[in-house]
Symmetry: D2
Subunit: 373 residues, 4 copies
Amino acid sequence: MSITTPISQENIIVGEVANGLPLTIPVYRLKGDGSGPSVYIQANMHGAEVQGNAVIFQLLEQLKQLNLKGDITLVPYANPIGCNQKSGEFTLGRFDPITGTNWNRMYHYNSDLVTQFAKDHSQYDDAALKNNFKQALIDEIDTKLNGPAYLLNTGKRIALNLQKLAHQADIVLDLHTGPISSKHLYCPTYATESASYFNIEHVLLIPSDFDGAMDEASFCPWWHLSDALGAQDRDFNVQVEAFTVELGSQEKIDLTEALNDANSILSYLNHKNVLVDARHKPSNITRYACHLDDYFAYYAPIGGMVEYVAPLGGHIKAGEPIAHVLRMERYLSEQPLQTLSLDCDAIAILHFASASVNQGTELYKFFTNVFEL
Amino acid sequence: MSITTPISQENIIVGEVANGLPLTIPVYRLKGDGSGPSVYIQANMHGAEVQGNAVIFQLLEQLKQLNLKGDITLVPYANPIGCNQKSGEFTLGRFDPITGTNWNRMYHYNSDLVTQFAKDHSQYDDAALKNNFKQALIDEIDTKLNGPAYLLNTGKRIALNLQKLAHQADIVLDLHTGPISSKHLYCPTYATESASYFNIEHVLLIPSDFDGAMDEASFCPWWHLSDALGAQDRDFNVQVEAFTVELGSQEKIDLTEALNDANSILSYLNHKNVLVDARHKPSNITRYACHLDDYFAYYAPIGGMVEYVAPLGGHIKAGEPIAHVLRMERYLSEQPLQTLSLDCDAIAILHFASASVNQGTELYKFFTNVFEL
Amino acid sequence: MSITTPISQENIIVGEVANGLPLTIPVYRLKGDGSGPSVYIQANMHGAEVQGNAVIFQLLEQLKQLNLKGDITLVPYANPIGCNQKSGEFTLGRFDPITGTNWNRMYHYNSDLVTQFAKDHSQYDDAALKNNFKQALIDEIDTKLNGPAYLLNTGKRIALNLQKLAHQADIVLDLHTGPISSKHLYCPTYATESASYFNIEHVLLIPSDFDGAMDEASFCPWWHLSDALGAQDRDFNVQVEAFTVELGSQEKIDLTEALNDANSILSYLNHKNVLVDARHKPSNITRYACHLDDYFAYYAPIGGMVEYVAPLGGHIKAGEPIAHVLRMERYLSEQPLQTLSLDCDAIAILHFASASVNQGTELYKFFTNVFEL
Amino acid sequence: MSITTPISQENIIVGEVANGLPLTIPVYRLKGDGSGPSVYIQANMHGAEVQGNAVIFQLLEQLKQLNLKGDITLVPYANPIGCNQKSGEFTLGRFDPITGTNWNRMYHYNSDLVTQFAKDHSQYDDAALKNNFKQALIDEIDTKLNGPAYLLNTGKRIALNLQKLAHQADIVLDLHTGPISSKHLYCPTYATESASYFNIEHVLLIPSDFDGAMDEASFCPWWHLSDALGAQDRDFNVQVEAFTVELGSQEKIDLTEALNDANSILSYLNHKNVLVDARHKPSNITRYACHLDDYFAYYAPIGGMVEYVAPLGGHIKAGEPIAHVLRMERYLSEQPLQTLSLDCDAIAILHFASASVNQGTELYKFFTNVFEL
């Protein structure tokens, strides 16, 4: 089989640890013919969320056999500290083990830059606006990376290095997983139509607020630029789409499922005109959506040992059991087995990864006020 | 339905933490008529291994409806520190988080006591031997617990408190789980015949050596006493049976499976004449055994992201794939997907709980040189 | 010696852990004659920051010999999870080990309540305003605590229970420590004058923004109420003072130093008219202040092994060495010992607790643009 | 200043982590003229015990200006996993975070090899015995390192790589620290005389048992060979000396103290005839010794907040206070401040690194039955 698109690799250094070993991240690049949008896909920013690496593997296996219109950059193992932080058998890679800061809340966004840019560049045509703004975002990151090293903490340095790559793209996909989870997609509301090209049943519609994550860092500047120009009566579409793709459960590699998810992503990329002569189409499934405000975290109302009984992706009726909580310390004096339920209909999206929970541990997250896309 | 056997509860204090809160363990007791052997069952010594609590729940639900010949003591939540040690979502409860010492390697055994006892009591009849030796074991523990508090570390104090309860019984079951695991039973070789009364397909036959675990701490003194008296040409059977029952995977509560396992235990207890008029019988399954020396730990020969493909409990042929290791950092320069296999036939008993492994992480444990019981 | 003021104790339950043990916090109360402001003091919200417990001990030892004008509530061991979370020898109690969330960023503040209150109550006199607003804040917390348990996560439930106590007081002190640290005080700018009554050389002046901490949760509502009423041309002083008192280094108990700090706090309370006939006066020391924006975090520009050489509390000149970084992996190929310095004059307030640092680890925090109070 | 002895560097690979990054260790070598014994010194096998790296730095700074009789190999950062395992601010590097196994208990020793060697080689002369046995030890390690990768766990692979280097030397120093600790030396009893050449006041005399540590792995084979040959009436001195040097407290770099310790080591090496024309002599200090059986671990008899008052290295009389334990949860109902003491005279060698302790936490270690060397 002839390989159509060559792949190149670069290893970027994003830090160094106490004994001086460098923290490196592999970056794979495929060149398009320049006629389509460029793409950035990363995986494994949270250490335990490994399945995205397998999806990137399956993407590479297919992409090398295709011709591309847009450039594609793929970054597995995006967090070399989180990847390797073990605590017992599990990968304690959701937050910096020193500070507790979520690795996916350290990206950079400067709203002043957007405001000023909108003021200074309103007379530019669309193409120039896009190019100049993209460059401004990259320059902002470069200024930080090239500034005094003592101003950057560990996670910020990793995040900025990744963000610099992401800002070069028109499409950004950040591959994550939940703890024990069904597949779902974080989608900015302006890009709702695109959600239908992924083979993902559950779509979470998020607003334009910036809370530090990669997807937000990628689309917020463009969304806010569009708003700011709109306030000047200039119509300028949001030029970048960015999604967080939640692939299922953490701590698992499933190569077959990874192929399905690679196909899902290729379907979306095909829709966005990134691929030449590709036949990837979305599956004919019903897609359920809810707004972020309706994404409901259910905390354990009591401590205990939990049997999770709500099927992930399942449509739960108000009052149906979602979990049993076993409490063996008071077997004689109270009901040792308690049943939990919801007050409203919902879809169970994910649950906690352990049966052993404190009062107040996040047990489940649910879609509520669900509608079909 | 009338409850036949009343249950009593006592909470024992096994320590206190830094802010002075006591560490307590619930102890449930059911009285028999004294005509059968007494039983001690504990669960959750390792924090993540919670399913034994559910099995104790299902045992209590049934036992309270039965009449008993022997007393039964049941101890869920045996390790109040391990139960509550979270690191990320997972329960880091296999070892003391301060020292790294495995909580199930801190029980006490004094071989000198056995030797001396055998010397001093050889003229006693069997019943007196048994009673006196049991008391001697309990006294030894009491001496330690009542000695200066500054001589006992945290885990030893917990272990001694549990061991004091266990030494009062003729039958000891310590309920554990593996990481991701099929059910299996640690069985001392002298008690091989009893293994057939549990509904557990995989039996690991272990020698009389003491390595600090509860099962060993329970049977080693009796086994060694039997040996020591045998050396004096006195025939004295091992009077205590003790097993570690591995119930499946950690971090999970499954009440249905817990009922199955409760029935498995009741089948064994019925065989041992603990129950009155019970009809619990073992299932008609093939039981596979191997000796501890043939219990084979397979370490990751390379670091990477692992797809586990050997079915747990499955009979693997030499050369068959047991895992794929994805290595995305050298996709272009080496084979990014490597397949692991074994040199010999084996049964896959358990595997590591995370897909993300260092070179040298224990990937799997296998039964080799398997035989049918 | 006669004890003048009786002390009462209540244990409040703020949660329960997986094996059902309750999380309790001791609350000590001393009654005043009602003629002075009431006081709330808590310690050890971060698990490793234990010295505040010793300060509360020394306060109790003295307060029971004094007569009081205002009520005083003292809460040691404020965080029963953080207190007991060990990882190796150290107390990993700065953030929830499951989520990474800083335990001192989970307090509650509802700015809408303030806005609405200012609108509805502008015609009230000062005393009624104060009483009603205090009650409104307490009611807000009660509503959350009495609402559905599944809406509260673990840390929020602890925080709300503490905040309910704090809202009842006119003066709130939250006792913390740094990692390796000199003493310093977080002081809201409106209360700058009060800072001079603590025997603490370094004062950090903070704005009225709410970022989730206890001090902010205590003063922000009152500060914002004062602002909102000011906008209606109603002059209403901020009625509550709240400080975070940083007592020095974590993981240490020093009873002598605790007595000094108790005297420092009594000096402030005496100034605020809480004590009857007390002679506690502030020490005659120079107090240095800086604004929060000038509180400078210096991150390790390289990974390595750090010898900290800036004396804590010391006035550092630009260019003076603050640390040496040893890098033994490239002894032959680069300078193995590198010296770090600052670009500006500063006071070293605290440094990291370990010599072993990654690139980007927070090495030091410095006061810059320092002025005398 | 002319550099007399050139230094060469090699980086050895001892494993790889989940994202494929290699674990490397720097190895520095200086050549002697072959007329003296060869030396192996390593540091930082436990992640938090960093001061040995600074001692190796100070050794290199001096050694490069000396001529050597024996070869010297120096290995800082001996444990690339332990070095970089952070949990909060501290370096959780005493045990494998996955398994809890102490990194310094994984070295290899095969007593059968010694027994067989003694049988087979008794007719050899001393020099041949030494050379052949050294080679046999190295071959044994090589066989393991070159065997199937799936037989080696992560820590064993690191340990074997280091042990291979150590077995090539006649003198082995493993540089460690305690938690909060005075300097002390683990010394095999046969080498007691050598202890007087280190500037270390406290000497712990240990027997020839193997418990998995580097010092034992280095001297046990030779000690046991000497014994086995002695049983054949062949007089063959132990040919290797190995010490664990405890440099003080963990998590600290002190370059001045490191120079003192480098001089202490050079004094010993000079005594052993490793250096040419060196003037390093031991200090004139009193050295106190005790036997390992008299090295007394004192566990916290109650949980609480500890003020450590026994001066490290101080001679404590029976009954003198060693610690105060503050217990703030029962201030009214029991004595909130309790004083701990010993039943016998002792020297305080080290104490726990945190004030916050559970009942049963190791508070102190003491030399008892002390004698002067």
